[in-house]
């Protein structure tokens, strides 16, 4: 059992949790994740470690409620418990001095981009953060990013705040302005990551994406998280989750992530029905 120390609603459906996990707090490096189960008979889901406080013995995770487990979690507050939290899992981000780095977070992907952004800054890079959201209220972590990055550009799909349009539009704009970019990290929905890869490809800018395939164990045991990178099969939970964006087969990732869509919908319907009956 892992105690939830604090929660905060960051945007509609997006909650930040502070968890008491002293050992993970000491070990975790940017880019790593945990696998958690909310309840004793629940599914194992991967969630990135957005922040750590080794002294307080806590980690922070930021979760978007999109299916059953994450919706159940949204109902938990401080003092509540998660049944299991295993981590840190995955390879840490490869943080080095590259020059000018751009980190791009779309939606809850910003939570994943955030610790990497800070680490890139700490490694003496010039860091530009681009944060995307559907509309103003969905742009998360802007204040935290402002303390971590040199420049922060919020973008909204509906133009209600910051740059009007997709994160790729903003990235293209920077490139068109003649900014010299050495490295791009993009985390968000698959179509967004694929679009970022296409923007940087012609310019030969090193681009990394953090992939989100369906996982079960997170230790390399099941192979359910396999992705194709440069024509080779890799297990995202142990070989990743970060990979070279220009080599990732995004279409395959998208198809594999849809594998249980029927089940996810049905399970959510059950959850809503149960809620309505109460």
């Amino acid at each position: 059992m892992t105690e939830i120390v604090a929660t905060e609603l960051l945007a509609p459906g997006i909650t930040s949790y502070v968890l008491a996990a002293p050992k993970i707090a000491r070990r975790a490096r940017p880019g790593q994740f945990v696998i958690l189960r909310a309840t004793g008979d629940g599914e194992r889901i991967p969630i990135t470690i957005a922040d750590t406080d080794p002294d307080a013995g806590t980690i922070r995770i930021i979760v978007q409620a999109i299916g059953k487990t994450t919706t159940v979690m949204a109902g938990l507050g401080a003092g509540g418990h998660l049944s299991d939290v295993a981590g840190p899992l995955g390879m840490p981000s490869d943080i080095r001095l590259v020059g000018t780095a751009v980190t791009i977070g779309g939606g809850v992907g910003t939570a994943i981009a955030f610790p990497v952004t800070r680490a890139l800054k700490a490694a003496c890079n010039e860091v530009i953060a681009i944060v995307g959201g559907r509309s103003r209220e969905y742009v998360i972590l802007e204040d935290e990013l402002a303390t971590a990055a040199d420049e922060v550009y919020p973008c909204t799909d509906d133009g209600s705040y910051g740059y009007p349009g997709f994160v790729t539009g903003k990235l293209q704009e920077l490139i068109d302005q003649g900014r010299h970019l050495d490295f791009v990290l993009a985390v968000g929905p698959v179509p967004m990551m694929r679009a970022v890869a296409e923007v940087t490809r012609p310019h030969g800018i090193e681009t990394v994406v953090s992939l989100n395939p369906i996982m079960v164990d997170g230790t390399g045991m099941c192979g359910g998280c396999r992705v194709e990178v440069g024509g080779t099969t890799r297990f995202a939970c142990v070989d990743g989750p970060e990979f070279d964006a220009h080599l990732v087969d995004f279409a395959l990732l998208e198809r594999r992530n849809r594998a249980y869509r029927w089940w996810e919908n049905w399970r959510m319907r059950e959850l809503t029905d149960a809620g309505e009956r109460q």
Binding site: K23, I24, R27, R37, D41, G42, E43, R44, K68, T69, S83, D84, V85, A86, G87, P88, L89, V216, D217, T219, G220, M221, C222, G223, G224, R226, E228, T233, V238, A251, L252, R255, R256, R258, A259, Y260, W262, W263, E264, R267
Partner: protein, 481 residues
């Protein structure tokens, strides 16, 4: 009543009462129902109590089979249990899953002339009898030694090692990567062959011995072996992390939606209980679907029979050699066939094809012929040109074996390993190249058996006990804390 040898030879081997195939193919309850006391005693009385029993030599942990069967024949089940338990700490499990035909029963003198004594069924009977009675003699535990041992991995190797160490008075913590302990016994072998309540009872027994279980602990990531020894204050470590890395075939279409590794398929169904109504973790809806399983071992049999129970209209094994070469337990092959599993031998896959959604729709197969024996002594399958054909299929399970998972090895550069990724140890003691670290089970042998893993865990426990009392390592150095 004394029975002459001649009379005994005329008696028939007991048949295991089992659920009817037509019924059990729809449920996950155990197939074998277990012997009654009367059946067990009758079977035991068939034993010739050989002077130099070959069955004992055939058992990897050399259980005093003749002695325990003698007790069963007299109706002294608790005496029989004590004998078994002195060599095997997991008899309820081994009695169910050991490949007896290659081990104890295969060596029984009756194996050729008549039918071997049903040693596995009797072992299972005794263990179940003792567990169901509920009152086992309190375990003998030596005085606390003040030494702490970390056991990494909670499969049969780790559990057996922890048992002996705890009995020897050491303080044992078992670290398990998953959320529940048991290793392959819980995530791999299905309920219908090994009820999870039995594994849980064994683990409770270990807790009673004072063993602590830390689940969700992926060693190599949360702590390295050095951390365990240097920071966490453990005096020795046993590594029993198994061979949990699934092998794929490397053929086109293997990443289509609908192609599972056996590990993923079985983990979803067993550990995550995808078969039970209301479970949170999904598995593809197999109702009225066609499911092909590639491989010929226990993992393949477990997968195909699971698929059948999930409602598959057609569930088949596709194996590239002939049935004789199948490494699965014979009983499982028979059970599978009785349940309606199709066994297609001398056939190998060439490719999988999918629709525009990326979902599997068909497989391309090729017929094989048996050629010259290969390194393993089995005849090598050779493709027959022009025999390719295409068949529709909805779900494929790849069950061609597992390799050691490199996760722990990556952070333990001072362990030596073979080019197959298995850890190199001294076979007698399980000592690795790293001071204070021992290993055993599938991580050392590659995918093997429960009883071999258990035996390795016990040998390592004895060596760890020795190391902890003397402080002597194989290089001759002595270290005292």
């Amino acid at each position: 009543m004394t029975t002459t040898k001649r009379e005994k030879m005329r008696m028939v081997r007991v048949a295991m009462p089992e659920q009817q195939p037509s019924e059990r193919r729809w449920n996950f309850d155990e197939v074998n129902l277990g012997l009654s006391e009367a059946l067990a005693v009758a079977e035991a009385q068939r034993c010739l109590f050989c002077a130099n029993p070959p069955c004992v030599a055939g058992c990897p942990v050399n259980i005093s089979i003749d002695a325990f069967i003698a007790r069963v024949a007299e109706g002294d089940f608790s005496g029989a249990a004590a004998i078994i338990k002195s060599d095997n700490s997991l008899p309820a499990i081994c009695g169910r899953v050991c490949p007896q035909e290659e081990q104890c029963e295969g060596s029984c003198v009756l194996a050729n002339k008549q039918k071997p004594i049903a040693i596995g069924y009797l072992e299972r009977f005794v263990a179940d009898w003792e567990r169901n009675r509920g009152e086992t003699a309190p375990p003998q535990i030596a005085a606390p030694t003040g030494k702490r041992v970390a056991v990494v991995g909670s499969g049969p190797a780790g559990l057996a090692c922890a048992t002996d160490l705890a009995r020897a008075g050491h303080q044992v913590t078992v670290f398990e990567a998953l959320h529940s302990p048991g290793g392959v016994l819980v995530y791999g072998i299905p309920e219908f062959r090994l009820p999870k309540a039995i594994v849980a009872a064994e683990i409770d027994g270990l807790r009673d011995l004072g063993v602590t279980f830390e689940t969700n602990a992926v060693i190599g990531l949360i702590d390295t072996l050095d951390d365990l020894l240097d920071t966490e204050g453990f005096d020795a470590v046993f590594v029993g992390v198994g061979a949990g890395l699934p092998r794929f075939m490397g053929i086109p279409g293997e990443n289509l939606v609908g192609v599972y590794s056996a590990n993923e398929f079985l983990t979803r169904v067993n550990l995550m209980k995808a078969y039970a109504p209301g479970a949170d973790t999904p598995v593809f809806d197999l109702y009225q679907k066609r499911v092909a399983v590639f491989g010929g071992g226990n993992t393949a049999m477990d997968s195909v029979r699971t698929a059948l129970r999930l409602g598959a209209a057609w569930a088949g094994i596709v194996y590239r050699r002939s049935e004789e070469e199948m490494p699965a337990r014979i009983e499982e092959v028979h059970h599978a066939r009785d349940e309606g599993v199709d066994i297609v031998t001398l056939t190998a896959p060439l490719a999988f094809t999918g629709d525009e959604q990326g979902s599997l729709t068909s497989m391309r197969l090729q017929k094989m012929a048996l050629g010259e024996p290969d390194d393993s002594g089995r005849r090598r399958p050779v493709p027959i040109e022009g025999s390719e054909y295409e068949v529709p299929v909805d779900v494929v399970v790849v069950a061609i074996g597992n390799q050691p998972n490199p996760l722990l090895m990556k952070t333990s550069p001072d362990l030596t390993h073979t080019r197959w990724g298995t850890v190199v140890v001294d076979p007698e003691t399980g000592r690795t190249a790293k001071r204070g670290v021992f290993a055993g089970g599938d991580i050392v042998t590659g995918g093997a058996t429960v009883i071999l893993a258990m035996g390795a865990g016990r040998r390592a426990a004895a060596a760890i006990d020795d190391y902890l009392s003397t402080g002597e390592w194989w290089d001759g150095t002595t270290q005292t804390r």
